[in-house]
């Protein structure tokens, strides 16, 4: 029997053992190949100049992705090798030379690598086509998708994964040469110490996290902490403190809580609670690092995804906030399709220059009657009646933290005139582009005020987000100067979708990958432990614990290991997103909650799978 056929038979016989490993290899290849295919896709780059931006984004993301894949593959490979240590030891015991064993494992890895590469690229091809359609949709374009196989992506993927396979094979060699036969005869573990809680570390962890949360939640423009660490330094400081706090949390606070639970005998001495809590306590120290990594990764994914999803969700609202009219431009009206037209008005406004202590600003002066007319057309039920010498200020870009609130003050003009500001609205009737901040005065005051009189064309269309063609039609008819003052809802919406949509896609793609990887890491980890614990559950069965009770305690333990990092991750991201929404002045509660639910749901599927496998392994021990 040749070595190669031995290796092949090995794979055939242990298929279930290999399945998990091959699956994670295929998974890595699929996501990588999909991602590079999208990067090299011609359809995408032909779409728009903004996709140049996307290409940059994709390139940067593929580096992150690759980094992640390397970690993930190294992890699954070491898990796989650990499982096979006994097999290697057996060969060695039977007198096979290490060199030969190494060669055999190398062959094996080669076969696995080839198989996963072929499967991965095939699957990746189909997946990339599907995802391309989703991406194009998200960016607000019509679907063009044609099936193209990218040679560049193929070469890129094959090259990188060949390198990775070589690396993992070397890892395998290392295991063989380092391993000593005596290891086989040693028991798995000679009684691990049960950890004791350190009060100082537990307190420190709690304080760190509380401080990080407090800083993230406090107003970044008034808070002393933010001023002290500066706007750039504070987020870094918060992240650092939170990561340290998370580690201490899993390392010490968890031990504290579990020990307290165990000591509460009225609870712990009920059924299998004692087993569950002791098992968790027994493992928690060794798991502290992985649990913290998972919590941080989850927090990153949820924050990034939530933020991007929030922006996507708010894209329409922020366009509408700035542009209440479908189209607006300065100058004469032009010919365009009258379908769907709700209103098409010409207004006379005046351009004002106002000097301030620091610089000058341009304002638009609007007649009260025009305001009332437009407000009615736009479906706003506000009607203004402004006294002589007074004004109402409309500022769509008003932000209570940066902008000056003029309410109740006198608004001085260039020529020395001044208006008393009665009210300030953040809802304008003129598009912010070209009009800027608007002063509404009554018709007599308008006439009396000096300023360059300008014609403004405002157009409202039904179904405005879809009126790309009309927008282009109008744009082409305008002079170069007019084009600068032209603002269009469909155009702005499309632009922001193209950017935010691509961000959303890349964000959710990476998020999904992170999620899958964190889920798999927990899965591998728990299953390794399950194998070590087989004997324990066999004892329990012998002393009269039925399968249902065992399933219950297994489900409970796995639930704690799964939910602890998820809950911590969600808590972290809530505070990070709080700072985010403050910075961008957006209400992202709804999209963020949706995102968190989606994330938790996928995580839950992993949980179910893990419990099932854990239980199966434990039952095999009986």
């Amino acid at each position: 029997m040749t070595l190669f056929s031995l290796a092949r038979k090995n794979i055939q016989r242990n298929l279930s053992n290999y399945f998990l490993y091959i699956a994670s290899m295929v998974f890595s290849i699929v996501i990588y190949f999909t991602f590079v295919t999208l990067k090299y896709n011609d359809d995408l780059s032909a779409l728009k100049q903004s996709s140049q931006q996307i290409k940059g984004l994709m390139s940067a993301s593929s580096v992150v992705l690759l980094f992640f894949i390397v970690i993930f593959m190294a992890y699954s490979n070491s898990f796989f090798m650990k499982k096979r240590k006994k097999e290697v030891a057996l060969y060695s015991l039977l007198g096979v030379r290490k060199q030969k064993i190494g060669l055999m494992l190398f062959f094996e890895n080669l076969v696995i690598g080839l198989v996963s590469l072929v499967f991965g690229i095939l699957l990746g091809f189909f997946m990339s086509q599907g995802l391309l359609m989703i991406l194009v949709r998200l960016m607000g374009y019509e679907v063009v998708g044609s099936l193209t196989f990218s040679m560049e992506a193929l070469i890129n993927t094959t090259g990188i994964f060949t390198l990775l396979f070589l690396f993992t094979s070397l890892q395998g060699y290392r295991v063989i040469y380092q391993f000593k036969l005596i290891d086989l005869f040693h028991a798995d573990k000679q009684g691990e110490q049960i950890p004791r809680a350190s009060l100082v570390a537990a307190l420190l962890g709690t304080v760190f996290i509380a401080f990080g949360y407090y800083t993230a939640a406090s107003d970044m423009f008034t808070s002393k902490i933010w001023r002290f660490f500066t706007v750039l330094g504070t987020p870094l400081m918060v992240i650092g403190v939170t990561i340290a706090g998370t580690y201490l949390l899993f390392h010490s606070v968890s031990v504290f809580v579990l020990t307290a639970l165990k000591k509460a005998t009225s609870w712990s001495w009920k059924g299998l609670n004692l087993i569950g809590v002791s098992q968790l306590l027994y493992r928690i120290r060794a798991n502290a690092k992985s649990l913290s990594i998972i919590a941080i990764l989850s927090a990153t994914t949820i924050t990034a995804g939530g933020g991007v999803f929030g922006m996507y969700y708010n894209a329409e609202a922020s366009v509408r906030q700035m542009l209440p009219n479908t189209f607006m431009w300065k100058g004469e009206t032009v010919e365009f399709s009258q379908k769907d037209v709700l209103f098409n008005e010409a207004l006379a406004v005046k351009n004002l220059r106002v000097d301030n202590e620091f610089s000058f600003f341009e304002y638009t002066l609007l007649k009260e009657s025009d305001y009332n007319r437009l407000a009615k057309l736009q479906g706003k039920d506000k009607e203004l009646h402004i006294a002589d010498g007074s004004t109402v200020l409309l500022d769509a870009a008003f932000d209570e933290r940066f902008s000056h609130d003029f309410t109740g003050e006198d608004f001085k003009l260039q020529n020395g005139d001044s208006f008393h500001v009665e009210k300030m609205y953040t809802e304008s009737v003129l598009n912010f582009i070209a009009a800027g901040t608007v002063l509404v005065v009554n018709d007599q005051e308008f006439k009396a005020t000096d300023g360059d009189e300008i014609m403004m064309q405002v157009v409202g269309l039904d179904n405005d987000l879809k009126q790309q063609d009309v927008s282009k039609d109008i744009y082409q008819q305008l002079s170069t100067e007019q084009q600068e003052s032209f603002s269009s809802v469909p155009q702005s919406y499309e632009d922001s979708l193209a950017t935010v949509g691509a961000l959303l896609f890349v964000g959710s793609f990476l998020g999904l990958v992170f999620l899958a990887a964190t889920g798999s890491i927990i899965y591998f980890k728990i299953l390794t432990e399950a194998e070590e614990d087989q004997a324990k559950y066999a004892i329990l069965n012998k002393i009269g614990v039925n399968s249902k009770q065992i399933l219950k305690t297994v489900a409970g333990q796995v639930a704690v290991i799964f939910s602890a990092p998820l809950i911590v991750g969600i808590a972290h991201s809530v505070f990070a997103l709080l700072a985010f929404s403050q910075l961008f002045n957006m209400n992202i509660t709804k999209p963020v909650i949706l995102w968190m639910i989606a994330y938790s749901a996928i995580y839950f599927i992993y949980y179910i799978f893990t419990v099932r496998s854990f239980y199966k392994i434990v039952r095999q021990g009986n």
Partner: protein, 255 residues
């Protein structure tokens, strides 16, 4: 007096078709309440299989096992687990303690599983620990104590539920002679003072000499049965040795 354990024609066959191997065949005997019964025989005779079958960890291919009024052969897996919990106690050669639990918690475990209130648990644990002389060790972990102490912990765990029947599988197999004697004396005391029914599998004639009655198994069948009666432990020991040499097994194991 009705017997506590009634074994009728129990047989156990492994494998299927032509590859069958008969581990036990046609075994019948009875154990009365309060008896200390030993099972001896050469290795491969089926001692452990018999114990596993009686202890409901394994199921017999044929025959009936009746403990008090319950026929174990007709029970399902989950019912068997509950039955074990409520009626049986186990002592194993390799202790089978859970190393993530303290000595106290290991002993508490079967009571906790049986959902006994905490106060009652404490009282029972303290009493049994005193009986086995491990009161000082209650807050230690298994890796901190010796083999003999571990086995006494395991025995406490088996007995704390006051089971109807205690099964011991080579309980002294991994112990030095001093620890073995201590343990056997504790078991023997318990048997006499509390009328605990014990069934012990061993290949060690010395350990067996603590029993009142010994069943010898050979090639899966019951070959001989001896009673201690009024003999001293030493005399009984000599008798066991004679039987062992006559049936040709276990001679090598004699101390």
């Amino acid at each position: 007096m009705t017997p506590l354990l009634k074994v009728q024609n129990v047989g156990k066959t492994y494998g299927k078709g032509a590859n069958t191997f008969t581990a036990l065949s046609n075994i019948s005997f009875e154990v009365a309440k309060g008896e200390f019964v030993g099972v001896m025989g050469p290795s491969g005779a089926g001692k452990s299989t018999l114990l596993n079958v009686l202890a409901t960890i394994d199921t017999p291919t044929t025959g009936e096992i009746i403990i008090e009024d319950t026929n174990l052969a007709r029970m399902k897996d989950a019912e068997l687990a509950d039955f074990r919990r409520d009626n049986l106690g186990f002592i194993f050669q390799d202790y089978n303690l859970l190393d993530s639990l303290t000595v106290r918690e290991n002993i508490v475990l079967p009571l906790a599983i049986a959902k006994m209130p905490t106060k009652a648990i404490n009282a029972r644990v303290d009493r049994i620990a005193e009986l086995f002389g491990i009161s000082e060790l209650l807050n230690k972990y298994p890796y901190q104590i010796s083999g003999g102490q571990k086995q006494r912990t395991a025995s406490s765990r088996a007995l704390v539920t006051e089971p109807k029947l205690i099964f011991a599988d080579e309980p002294t197999g991994a112990l030095d002679s001093k620890s073995a004697t201590d343990l056997l004396e504790s078991l023997s005391d318990l048997n006499q003072s509390q009328a605990a029914t014990i069934m012990m599998v061993t290949h060690d004639a010395f350990a067996a000499s603590f029993c009142q009655r010994i069943l010898f198994i050979q090639d899966g069948q019951l070959s001989k049965e001896i009673q201690r009666g009024t003999l001293t432990r030493k005399q009984f020991f000599q008798e066991i040795l004679q039987v062992l040499s006559s049936i040709g097994g276990g001679v090598n194991d004699v101390i």
